[in-house]
């Protein structure tokens, strides 16, 4: 299954190779032009009838993770975070290190030896380390190098009422949607772009927009979902199972109102549920895309993901299907020249 393959692959920002290769394999027979640019972004093009506006749909390939910074005398590995990770979710988790995916665990001080105030405070990254089971530095150096990327060891699991648990749903869910669009849509011309290093500062998106020069851009994302009980509804950024989330604004973009309204109108006309992303926190590739060269009109459409940036992110297959349906309908409108 595509989403399983994509989420279980390793692709921490700056090390997207494994994910990139899966995507290239999936789409190369379905596009008219494809290239990997100097930063590692995939820029694919599907031909269609002439359209006055150039459309680009993007999804970032990278995920948050860790990087090895030191191997100590006991053979324990120190690390730093790549992208926004809550240090508190690292404790007591298995991880996979480097290209060979060496298994390690992030342990913690036994509760028996803690002072009471200790367990009220979060553990700092500097206090954590990865144990791969070696006795010393020399043994460790044979298996791991400083600079190795680290991913969470978390499998794709379907559970509950059509839910999915996986790591890296942000943003393999966007990659999966875009791959499926590229494979299914025929005779509609658009650029399908998979970017690198979104999680460390929207690095790949600017150069891509510079190359493609899109008039319209749709950014596909897995976005914040925090619908816990007893939270005021205005504090809930998105709900699970309420359909694709359309962004209003975030820290990087005030999304084009006309484009956004056009999209919600399309959803309404086609009876596709949607919701607004009611948080101005976070940001995505749109931040770079809408300000590159003379600029581009952008919209972000996201699949809500609970526990984002953690090994146990959760999304709904129903939301995925509705997001896909909306995207397809948008493309049909685009073909008619009505976007």
């Amino acid at each position: 299954m595509l989403l399983k393959k994509l989420t279980e692959a390793s692709g921490v920002s700056g090390n997207e190779k494994e994910v990139r290769n899966i995507i290239l394999d999936e789409i190369q027979d379905f596009v008219d032009d494809i290239k990997v640019d100097r930063l590692g972004n995939i820029i694919a093009y599907k031909k269609g009838k002439d359209n006055p506006k150039k459309l680009m749909i993007t999804a970032h390939m990278d995920e948050v993770g860790l990087m090895i910074t030191d191997i100590d005398d006991m053979g324990l590995l120190k690390f730093t975070t790549v992208g926004g990770i809550d240090k508190r979710i690292l404790v007591s988790k298995p991880v996979l290190i480097g290209d060979n995916k060496v298994l390690g665990v992030i342990g913690a001080k036994p509760i028996h030896l803690q002072k009471r105030e200790e367990w009220q405070n979060a553990l700092e990254i500097e206090q954590l380390y990865i144990d791969i089971g070696v006795n010393n530095k020399t043994e460790g150096e044979k298996l791991v190098s400083i600079g190795d990327y680290v991913i969470f060891n978390s499998q794709y699991v379907e559970f509950g009422d059509k839910l999915v648990k996986a790591k890296a749903l942000d943003n393999r869910v966007g990659c999966s949607l875009l791959i499926e669009l590229i494979k299914e849509i025929e005779d509609i011309g658009f650029y399908g772009v998979f970017t690198v290093m979104e999680e460390v500062g929207l690095v790949g998106a600017g150069p891509v927009a510079y190359t493609v020069e899109p008039d319209l851009s749709i950014i596909l994302e897995g976005t914040l979902c925090y619908d816990i009980p007893k939270l005021d509804s205005h504090l809930i950024p998105t709900h699970l199972n309420k359909g694709p989330a359309i962004s209003l604004m975030d820290r990087t973009t005030l999304f084009d109102m006309e484009f956004r309204k056009r999209i919600t109108k399309i959803a309404e006309e086609n009876h596709i549920p949607y919701q607004y992303r009611k948080s101005s926190m976070g940001g995505n590739d749109s931040g770079k895309i809408h300000t590159t060269k003379e600029g581009s009109v952008t919209a972000t459409i996201s699949v809500p993901c609970r526990n984002i940036h953690s090994p146990t992110s959760v999304m709904s297959k129903q939301d995925y299907e509705n997001t896909y349906k909306l995207l397809k309908t948008i493309l049909l409108e685009y073909e008619k020249g009505e976007l």
Partner: protein, 351 residues
């Protein structure tokens, strides 16, 4: 069965304190093969007896390793189907955020313990640990759907598979104290190749994590001449003081302190030296945090020993042990038992 195979089966089966019966199907058949009798007592302790040879005075040695593990329990189901929960045994709330869990309802339900996205956190939030009462479990069903699947009081365990690390190291949930149960099994196998006078009772105890309860009743029932608790000790890591810890791969810790009979402990050390079995010392001046503390004060008092298998990250779901340490623990126990005879027992127990 290979010790690693057994340990994998034990660790991959959940046995939260009070809910240990799930292990009966694993422990009973493999222990039965090498023992003369096996029973489950009223609290759920599994007691296997291996009879001694020429045991005129009917001397008895009891080994105890606890088969229960720490876990969680369902407390409340929210309107949107999220589950509120509490802990069973000593759980550091910091170790359960973002974990996958299994809720042991009518059927086993997969779920995750949610976390707040970093994007939405206030600046000072990130430095505070999240309390268990502020966490929720998401099993992906509505409250209505859950009504027939989950009840208040169902146990919940962290979902973690047994895995092999480098060398002889393994990682799993609840190696505390399934490593001890595996050591008892290895000891039975060793003893089946040796001759021993004492009757040996191998007890997989219940409810150690909530107050060494199974050890009290089983020790009372068996009334042994010698009780030996096999548990885990703190494996050395950089943040712990050297004096509090045992080194990994350097053999079992032999406990010294008030919980331990000094004469028997000296004998145990002599046996380790005679048979070249590596060992370390573990210092515990008062009652230990093991079944040994219960055994010692059962009936009119029972001479007690404790052996500790070095284990890193105790009470997390990524505990680490070295298989060699388990094997050496088993070997030391077996040879020690062979040196206890009807003739020398009284002398060993004398002050």
């Amino acid at each position: 069965m290979d010790i690693k195979e057994l340990l994998e089966a034990l660790c991959n089966t959940n046995s939260i304190s009070g809910d240990e019966y799930r292990l009966e199907g694993i422990i009973m058949p493999v222990f039965k093969e090498f023992t003369d009798d096996i029973v489950v007592d009223k609290l759920g302790n599994i007691i296997a007896l291996k009879k001694g040879y020429n045991n005129k005075g009917n001397i008895k040695v009891m080994l105890a390793a606890h088969m229960d593990e720490i876990g969680l329990m369902v407390k409340h189901i929210e309107e949107n189907g999220f589950i509120r929960f509490t802990s069973i045994g000593g759980i550091d709330p910091r170790t359960i955020l973002g974990q996958e869990v299994i809720v042991h309802g009518k059927e086993n339900l997969f779920g995750v313990i949610g976390s707040k996205p970093p994007h939405l956190q206030e600046k000072d939030e990130i430095d505070r640990a999240i309390k268990i009462e502020d966490m929720t479990i998401d099993v992906g069903f509505t409250k209505e759907q859950l009504m027939n699947l989950i009840s208040i009081g169902d146990t919940i365990s962290i979902r973690r598979d047994f895995k092999t690390l480098q060398g002889n190291r393994i990682t799993a949930r609840a190696l505390d104290d399934k490593a001890g149960v595996a050591a008892m099994y290895e000891c039975i196998k060793e003893l089946s190749r040796l001759q021993h006078e004492p009757d040996v009772y191998f007890v997989s105890t219940v409810q150690e994590e909530v107050g060494v309860r199974g050890a009290f009743t089983s020790a009372y029932g068996i009334n042994p001449h010698i009780g030996i608790a096999i548990d885990v000790g703190f494996g050395a890591t950089p943040e712990l003081s050297k004096t509090d810890t045992l080194e990994m791969g350097k053999g079992p810790g032999i406990t010294i302190g008030g919980n331990i009979h000094p004469g028997l402990r000296k004998k145990l050390v002599d046996v380790a030296k005679d048979y070249n079995i590596p060992f370390q010392y573990e210092i515990a001046p008062g009652p230990t945090g093991t079944d040994g503390r219960a055994i010692q004060i059962t009936r009119e008092g029972i001479p007690t020993l404790c052996l500790s298998i070095p284990l890193r990250y105790m009470h997390t779901s990524v505990e680490v042990v070295d298989i060699l340490d388990i094997k050496n623990t088993a070997k030391l126990l077996a040879f020690f038992i062979t040196t206890i005879t009807n003739t020398n027992l009284e002398g060993l127990l004398c002050y």
